[in-house]
Symmetry: C2
Subunit: 92 residues, 2 copies
Amino acid sequence: MSDARPTVRIHYCTQCRWLARAAWIAQELLTTFPTQIDVLLAPGTGGVFEVSMSGELLFSRKDAGRFPEPKELKQAIRDRIDPDRDLGHSDR
Amino acid sequence: MSDARPTVRIHYCTQCRWLARAAWIAQELLTTFPTQIDVLLAPGTGGVFEVSMSGELLFSRKDAGRFPEPKELKQAIRDRIDPDRDLGHSDR
């Protein structure tokens, strides 16, 4: 893991077969933040779908009762690592 | 990162636009080893495409002069975390 860069961890349920969704979200985040973050895909069980960065929980499916949209995750990451950045029309 | 599980790190070149390939490899590995590893997608530059596990280099594009096939990565991981496992007809 690159020391300087924060790691976004996507913890997803394998029983629910959410790898594809987790990998999609990972690619969305790494496309928007191509050099500023690492992304960790971490399998889990029991319906988990959680996104955290440097240990801080950004999104929990159990709490929200739904899956995260890339836009809200990108905004949460932007707010923490590059607050002045404009994410552009689709992710503003 | 889950302490118990080893992390497979895929370090890929963003200049070469190898995110899609890295994410594909990640999904292949996490499909074959659904609960035994975490996979870290780590952007880099300069033509890098390297796969390592727990700090040990398993594959380097520069050394091999080509990209890795999922099969050889799965075998390398299997040899280290589950030596007796038969990967089945396609990845044996």
